[in-house]
């Protein structure tokens, strides 16, 4: 999506009602973010919108920290996708899959993520399993209307729930700590496991792409 460099365009301040909406939207898409939401979008900070090519809007807080972007096209279903810098700050809050070492360089040059990179030994797809119960944190108690699901990755890196087609997902890499890409699944993880081939994520936002390199000031 962002293979080319993006020249920054003017920022627009958002109405507080739209801000509220976005916040709610973000929480429904990523319920795991609930404990951190006040950290991500502080009540006082101003949320700004930057329009990018291909009808994508990037949301920025305080003019310098990119948060997430939203493609306004039917094919993307208006899904909110986090910027990688946000993913790096809160890595445990997003569903993850992992690619093997061999696939990293292709992903980082903007290739479509294909199934073999996930089904091989170094890759990790979700593996449903029970998670130990977890206590509610203080911040969660404040947001009682949203239930924080008990899900996460096990020590091996398998996410605890099968992911559906159309869900946004963070792509980790074998042997690396940080995420290397984020995108929307074009095939459910179950299907990927069964088929073992075909595209998994098209048009991801990856490290070093135009969006990543875009300067905000």
């Amino acid at each position: 999506m962002f293979k080319k460099d993006i020249t920054p365009s003017p920022k627009q301040k958002l109405k507080s009602s739209i801000q509220r909406n976005l916040r709610q939207n973000l929480l429904t898409t990523y319920p795991l973010l609930t404990p951190f939401i006040d950290d991500i979008i502080p009540k006082k900070a101003s949320l700004e919108q930057i329009k990018l090519p291909d009808r994508v809007s990037l949301y920025v807080i305080d003019g310098t920290t990119p948060l997430f972007f939203q493609a306004d096209t039917p094919s993307q279903q208006n899904t909110i996708v986090p910027h990688l810098k946000l993913v790096h700050r809160f890595p445990q809050c997003f569903p993850t899959i992992r690619i093997d070492r061999g696939a990293i360089r292709f992903v980082l040059s903007g290739a479509t993520l294909m199934a073999p990179g996930l089904t091989s030994k170094g890759g990790r797809l979700p593996l449903p399993h029970e998670r130990p119960p977890r206590e509610k944190t203080a911040a969660e108690a404040e947001h009682e209307d949203i239930e924080v699901p008990n899900e996460g990755a096990d020590e091996e890196g398998h996410w605890s729930r099968e992911l559906e087609k159309g869900e946004p997902v963070v792509v980790l890499a074998e042997g690396k700590e940080e995420a290397c890409a984020v995108g929307v699944l074009v095939a459910g993880t179950k299907e990927i496991k069964e088929k073992g081939k075909g595209p998994v994520i098209e048009e991801a936002h990856f490290l070093g792409d135009g969006l990543w390199r875009m300067t905000l000031d």
């Binding site: 404990p35 950290d39 700050r89 809160f90 061999g102 360089r105 940080e178 290397c180």
Partner: protein, 187 residues
Amino acid sequence: MTELAGRHVVYCGVCSLPPEYCEYGGTVKKCQQWLEKNQPAMYSRIWSPEVLEAEMASLSVEAQERAMKDAKKKAAKAEAAEQKQADKRANSVVTIKRIERNKRKYVTSVSGLEAFGLELKKVAKDFGKKFATGSSVTKVPSGGEEIVVQGDVSGEIEEFILEKYKEVPEDNIELVEDKKKKKGEGN
């Protein structure tokens, strides 16, 4: 879930990726040097010989060769691009032109600043502030853009550029007086 604050991630100062991914950035050598200087702990974790060896061992011979070739190609490409940019910088000239607009009225146009990695819009704003005149970025017929400042400020603008934007060398600034305009001949 216990830590409530977000993590702070260090990014490479050269290629802007997390240092783990520098090897894919194409400027590996420079990234290594930067990391060694600025984040020695991380450097030893990522680039120590033992780690590298372990990584190499996990790949098949064929994949290794391919990866090597790829890395080499990328590095060469990055180097060439850098060289090109440096060349461009050394050869490009900033032209300050005094244009007669109407007997005794002048505008000053500055072109070529973009080759030094300056943003014309911002520079134009600075000029306007400094000289308290109108200053704008206009397109030139031959393609590209130049900054047009109202009034004859050719002398001062040279000094201002040299003082404010140190990346522009003095020898690369050229002062031109443009006399031939459609109507107003002479001086």
